[in-house]
Amino acid sequence: MKAWTRHPAFHFLLLGVILCLGDLWMSSGDGTEPVRVLSVGPSRVEQLRGQWQAQAGRLPSAAEEDWLIRQWIDDELLFRQALELDLHRNDPGVCHRLILNMRFLGLDRSGAERQDPDRRALCRRAIKMGLHMGDPVVRRQMAGLMRIALQRSAVPQEISQQQLRDYVESHPARFREPERIRLSHVFLSRDRRAGTLEDDAQRLLRRLRQESVEPRQAVLLGDAFLAGHHLPMSWQRDLKRALGTQFASAVMDLPEKRWSGPVPSSYGLHLVWVHERLPGRLKPLQEVREQAALGVEAERAQQRLATAMQRLREQWEIRREED
């Protein structure tokens, strides 16, 4: 491929042209342009069915067929739009494909190309011959270029603080940080207290409550717990890792600053003191700004594409032809 087609400046320029044309086209509609006609005939439907069958091994259902046809119509409209905007003339991917086709057809061997292996010339000749019209790969590629053009905005749009904040708030599942607690626990070992575990725990719990024993002192009244008795501020998943699911599920809702339990784990029983609890929160914007900005931009692109597709469809009358 020619060096110039790979040069970033070329792509930049090309993109600029596409954006401008796309924008011109977007802003040109005043509802009075003539409605054009796109026909979907039985042979087209048959072809779509056949493609589906080749991949899926069965014929499409009525709903699937309807979806296939609508997809095809959208692609076709995009392809025709791209054609009007001459997107095929300078796209290196389209050119590449067309040259391969020329080669396959043996059409690259005429005198002119022998002397002048200029790929641009070859590409232009392919387009002149209309090779781009019938090639499914080229059509798909052009529809894709058109989609990208429609998703972009001609003018870079600022994203305000408020828009970022709104985005974070409307996606709580993604940006929510779960609740945390900090706890101490007095441990009673199943290994060491086989027969008396439950009784020991109840007795010790009564004593801790009656005598208001501080956690630092209290843990000395139980058994040694090798992973530690005073846990740092933890999410539930940290507690699961250290003490298992059963324990972690039971302690998140325990009251603060009093002795609770006995809470079972697979190691034995625990008397638990919750020091403090930090409620779950939406992460502050400064922690998630980059992710949120990407999200806003993706939503806007989808919106721009949807609006433009709607406009495009309105300019065409779709005729479903029966046999």
Binding site: P136, S189, G228, R241, Q291
Partner: protein, 683 residues
């Protein structure tokens, strides 16, 4: 002391940071549809799906129905804390080129009509399109994989780069693979960035280097500290065996990462020495040894394709060295021919050399075949070179080809290889055992769900976890999640296990797993090792711990290598231990009542035969009580629907019985953990 000095990062104060470190669970070995050998067995999920799965989301597994919906799904019972997706870098560009004809908008269906269709691409597309055909063969996987067996492979000439015409004017650049490869690599980075949630979940930019010269699995997972990485991954094509293989990989990583990319840091983790026949190059100089240990401080000891700690009869008579072994010693084929094929375990490398045996990469199968052997060989090489090149810590991984990191549970094991092991008969290798043909191999029956890596780190961030990886403060497990601490020092109190601050004392008076013992103080003490293990708090069937062992390897003044395994804490307190059948009801896989075993084991052990003039290493191995192997659960499941099925008998049939004594897939296993070692070197 060491602890406080390294506690630099505190990004996560109040959000998990702990000066005495937390254990974090992860998988450093995962393949997705970006890998040529995963996409050709029906895997459609990407690194993005793998990260979601690691965080707890469900994932689809092949086969897929005609509408593109997966017929199987799976989900982790417990999410992971970190993950490196390690797709094979060798065909990043080619896979993308062949499956999309270089255009992301084009379906494979349209590619079928792609007039210019190199055969290898065609093979790939046909393989992928025919996956649901029972007669379909993975032509592409075999064809593409075979390149990586060559000493100096070249890329398929007609897939990437230029197809040479009859004259220069006829040349056509077919597909611009480097730029496709760069775009895949950039996607790998972007996906890892999206998945990273400091303090909560760590993702690593990574890939697998897939050198397989002559069928030896010399693969390495290349893990980067952050997103400052070279523009393209360095694959086996750029560093083939004929040009040094792993040695060239390190050289290129040194240049392209450490020297040319600001902020770049990297390590390579070799895996499957069990089918590698000499996984580690043998350095000739101290400088080479230094480079080696710089880039490869860790090795993967356990994964779906077997265990690499040790093999009974290969340098050891340790009876626990019969765990999840494969009956072959290369990636494909080359069945094990019995222990006599290997070095006499009592013979030292020095004696062997006197008899004409040269320790080289080619003959390395004796000393490189299993990691315990390579740790021992490292003591020997270290004496000659002044630097021990094989001072490697341990990690574990799945090596899933289903985008399912951390899916290591025996119960409900779905296989790790797409459509090759997607149902019980395939997983039990029953498909190949029927009819008159004898089973060619028990490949999938011998596989296991794989292992996990545990990392002790201050917080869940890339820097903190990467520091712990390079510092080898890691342990590997066969898939379970017990909490294990292992410290070495000279003056730990013998009642340390009863102290409330075990970890703090461990760091203050000594070193953690993966380190060198500090200088020996006056008074000629023997080293002490403080080791504790808490059973997996969510273990299947509430399995308890049976024992902690310390494995010691050392080299004597004659250069003879030795090893000894000590049971240091156990229940019952002394062996012999009950037979596996006494723990498990083999008809149901239920645990039997009132078996021995502890929720926690802990001791301070002192080496009773320490000789300060001898280099040595010590690592801890923790054994869980016996439980059913995955294959037994699935055989029971099969018997319920097909009462006449003979899978039970099949499970008790040794693989290659006449050539590989000792290799047998048992009904039960003892899940386990291996800590990185602590080394002692005489001053």
């Amino acid at each position: 002391m060491a602890l406080l000095a390294t506690a630099l990062a505190q990004e996560c104060e109040g959000r998990g940071y702990s000066p005495t470190k937390n254990v974090y669970w992860g998988d450093l070995h995962t393949h997705t549809a970006f890998s040529f050998d995963a996409v050709t067995i029906g895997t459609r999920t990407t690194p993005r799906d793998a990260y979601q799965f690691a965080k707890g989301a469900a994932i689809g597994l092949p086969p897929y129905d005609q509408a593109g919906q997966p017929l199987r799904t799976t989900q982790l019972m417990r999410p992971l804390d970190f993950l490196a997706v390690t797709d094979h870098s060798e065909y990043f560009g080619e896979v993308r080129a062949c499956l999309t004809c270089a255009d992301p908008g084009v379906s494979p269906d349209e590619c079928q009509n792609f007039q210019y269709s190199p055969l290898v691409c065609k093979a790939l597309r046909q393989t992928v399109m025919n996956l649901n055909n029972p007669d379909g063969r993975n032509i592409a996987g075999a064809l593409w994989g075979s390149k990586l067996f060559q000493r100096v492979p070249n890329r398929f000439p007609f897939t990437c780069g230029v197809q040479v015409g009859r004259s220069r004017a006829d040349d056509i650049d077919v597909v611009d693979c480097p730029s496709l490869e760069a775009s895949v690599w950039s996607e790998v980075k972007t996906i890892a960035r999206d998945a990273y949630q400091p303090c909560e979940f760590t993702s690593f930019v990574a890939y697998e280097w897939t050198g397989t010269p002559q069928g030896n699995n010399w693969h390495r997972n290349v893990i980067f500290r952050n997103e400052s990485v070279p523009g393209l991954p360095i694959s086996y094509f750029e560093s083939p065996q004929g040009e040094g293989g792993p040695v060239k990989l390190w050289r290129l990583l040194e240049r392209e990462c450490l020297e040319d990319t600001p902020g770049c840091d990297v390590l390579a983790i070799p895996h499957n020495s069990n089918i590698g026949l000499g996984l580690f190059p043998v350095p000739k100089t101290a400088e080479e040894a230094q480079t080696q240990i710089r880039f490869e401080p860790l090795a993967e000891i356990h994964q779906t394709k077997g265990n690499s700690e040790c093999r009974w009869g290969v340098g050891t008579t340790d009876e626990e060295c019969q765990f999840e072994l494969l009956s072959r010693k290369q990636l494909f084929g080359n069945p094990v021919e019995g222990p006599t094929n290997y070095q006499d375990p009592s013979q030292s490398p020095m004696e062997a050399q006197q008899q004409g045996f040269e320790l080289t990469a080619e003959t390395g199968d004796t000393y490189n075949y299993f990691l315990r052997e390579s740790l021992k060989a490292g003591l020997y090489l270290g004496q000659g070179l002044g630097i021990n090149p094989y001072k490697t810590g341990f990690v574990g991984g799945t090596d899933t080809h289903n985008s399912t990191p951390g899916s290591t549970e025996e119960v409900g094991f779905e296989g790790q290889h797409g459509l090759e092991d997607n149902d019980i008969p395939k997983r039990l290798s029953l498909a190949t055992s029927s009819g008159s043909d004898p089973a060619p191999s028990q490949a999938f029956l011998e596989n296991n769900p794989g292992g996990l890596t545990a990392v002790w780190a201050e917080e869940n961030t890339r820097d903190s976890i990467f520091d712990s990886l390079t510092g080898k403060e890691t342990y590997a497990t066969s898939g379970i999640r017990p909490v294990v601490r292992f410290f070495g020092g000279w003056d730990y109190p013998l009642d340390m296990c009863d102290q409330p601050d075990f970890a703090q004392m461990g760091y203050q008076s000594g070193v953690p797993m993966g380190s060198d013992l500090g200088a020996r103080p006056a008074g000629d003490p023997s080293p002490r090792f403080a080791v504790m293990a808490m059973k997996d708090p969510d273990s299947e069937l509430d399995a308890r711990l049976q024992r902690i062992q310390v494995v010691k390897g050392w080299i004597d003044s004659q250069g003879v290598l030795h090893e000894q395994v000590f049971d240091v804490d156990s229940d019952p307190t002394e062996g012999p231990f009950p037979a596996h059948e006494d723990y498990v009801d083999l008809a149901t896989c239920e645990a039997k009542p009132d078996t021995p075993g502890k929720d926690m084991l802990c001791t301070v052990w002192q080496d009773p035969q320490f000789d300060p003039s001898q280099s040595a290493f010590y690592y801890a191995r923790v054994l869980q009580n016996p439980t059913c192997r995955w294959s037994t659960y699935q055989c029971i499941q099969l018997e319920q629907t097909e009462p006449e099925n003979n899978c039970r008998q099949w499970l008790a049939t040794p693989a290659n019985a006449d050539t590989a004594p000792g290799v047998i897939v048992g009904y039960t296993i003892q899940e386990r953990a291996w800590t990185s070692a602590i080394w002692y070197e005489p001053k």
